[in-house]
Amino acid sequence: MARAIWKGRITFGDVDVPVKLYSAVQSQGVQFRLLDAKRHEPIKQHMVDPESGKVVEYADIRRAVDTGAGELVLVDAEELAELEPAPSREIEVTRFVPHNEISHLWYDRPYFLGPDDSDSGYFALAEALRRKKVDGVARWVMRKKEYAGALRADGEYLVLVTLRHAGEVTPASELTPPGGRDLDRREVEMAKRLVAAMEDELDLAAYKDEYRDRVLELVEAKAAGKVVKFPKAPAKKTEASLADALERSIAAARKRRKSA
């Protein structure tokens, strides 16, 4: 059983559902340490004043905001503490929008929610979201940081995915797509047929981080003093005209499908 990282209450209207938050991601990246090349020992880091070349101890380090105009504005710890949001346990849902209306561009980090104390409100909320086909937009303060997130039904459970802040994201609707001469209708039809021929159910489990596995194999082989084998580069593809390439691709995709 994973440990909950935070407890809160989902609130809107007369609804108040106590929940526990669990991280839904577990990083699997290969972690390297920086070593002293001579002794192969981990190294230390210090902050250094480039002018004096002296190490500044952590307790003496101050914080400053760069205004971008050749000015630094010093901000002390008390001032930063005053800016912190008031602690709260409330995950306040301010609105609901149609399911999948929030663009993927906004999604940041997912959390599973689990029931806290009684389950009934929790599973009723998930059921209501599913029946209404909506996602909630929520705000909350967790560990002195303010978050916005999407509250979604995930099967019979609830997830909360943090959303990026307003100014961070450039929506596609605000951009101008590339222009050019009208597309050839025949080519559009062929491309549609090609996409249809390559259509499949999404199976994310079919994709593995093979590079990561190879890095770990390399480490193991080196540790065992074995000779390391490196993979060979694949052959290059040939170029073709667009219409020709589409035609041949559709044929190839159909063939693959038949033999599969």
């Binding site: 209207g13 902050m47 901000v75 450039t170 994310l204």
Partner: protein
């Protein structure tokens, strides 16, 4: 307190990476452009007098300073026992780094679980013609389909969904399946059948708050706003303001912050127009080599963003030269 890792890259006129999408035998050379921009001010570490500090490395035994060339990368196989891994070894592990993003499967966009989405890049046409780009974007958008592929970018393998919106392609990197926990992994209790009356009551509360779309104002970063206000007040009062000369190495645009929308629109016009504007002199994605790229021309913010993507430790205190050296080592 926001830490240095909260920094999002500043918009850049230069692509983060260039590659080629292939579907069937059709290739679409594309540039990866930042889709996000910094929305908040970053806090820097300074000396008691207000001088910006740099991170430096020392031996743990006798605190002797180390240069980048004195540092190697090690994987801890047992406590305090490391296997040293050289950069060229990591590079040779990814020979298929051919810059091909081979779309083999198309799926319904709405079928992709949002728990898997990691970050987005806008893709802009990098080839001589925008035709194949526009064709792929149109067909995917019209059919509501996304293309799925894996590829290696800068010494890391990515699972990616290529999605089209408003005639524009973007790449959304996805987490691998073993990076996302399931209900069973967490050990959530079995679902209990809710009471119909409870569901009805919640549905009524939902009805009162349902709108057609997301309002971006609900996503405003209030903490950053408060910090910005404090800074503006102090600047006005001339209080705690320290002038400093940004080292010549910092920022090649004279500290000018680019407008991301303008940058993206310029890049979306296609390679010919973008080349003219950015004077990059590079043609298609295939010839734009990451290794031959002139990192020295990037601003410190751009370098920092790359360092972050590459998980380079200690990046927040590095000088521009240190960032360039560290990126070269790990790219």
């Amino acid at each position: 307190m926001p830490d240095a890792d909260d920094v999002v890259e500043q918009p850049s006129a230069r692509p983060f990476w260039s590659g080629t999408i292939t579907f069937g035998l059709v290739s679409v050379p594309v540039n990866f452009m930042a889709a996000y921009r910094a929305d908040r001010v970053s806090l820097r570490m300074v000396s008691p007098e207000g001088r910006p500090l740099s991170r430096r490395y020392f031996t743990s035994r006798d605190e002797k300073p180390l240069e980048w060339d004195d540092i190697v990368r090690g994987y801890e196989i047992e406590k305090d026992e490391f296997v040293v891994v050289e950069d060229d070894e990591l590079e040779r592990l990814a020979p298929e780094r051919t810059r091909d993003i081979d779309l083999r499967v198309f799926v319904k966009v709405d079928d992709i679980d949002p728990k898997f989405f990691e970050r987005a890049y806008y893709l802009t046409p990098a080839g001589q013609s925008t035709k194949a780009y526009r064709l792929l974007a149109k067909v995917m958008e019209d059919t509501g389909r996304a293309g799925i592929a894996t590829f290696v970018m800068r010494a890391k393998e990515y699972l990616v969904a290529i999605i089209a919106e408003n005639g524009i392609l973007r790449a959304e990197t996805l987490r691998f399946v073993d990076e996302v926990r399931s209900v069973e992994d967490i050990g959530l209790p079995d679902p209990a059948k809710p009471k119909a009356a409870d569901v009805k009551r919640i549905e009524r509360a939902i009805d009162g708050l349902t709108e057609k779309a997301l309002d971006r104002r609900e996503l405003v970063d209030r903490s950053a706003k408060r910090l910005n206000e404090l800074v503006a007040k102090k600047v006005k009062a001339g209080e705690d303001v320290v002038e400093y000369e940004p080292a010549a190495e910092e920022g090649d645009g004279g500290g000018k912050v680019l407008d991301l929308i303008e940058v993206l629109n310029r890049s979306l016009k296609g390679a010919a127009a973008a080349k003219h504007a950015a004077k990059s002199g590079k043609s298609g994605g295939r010839s734009a080599s990451a290794d031959g790229e002139d990192l020295g021309r990037l601003s410190k913010d751009e370098l920092y963003a790359r360092a972050k993507r590459l998980d380079i430790p200690g990046r927040s205190g590095m000088s521009k030269q240190e960032l360039v050296a560290a990126i070269r080592r790990s790219a």
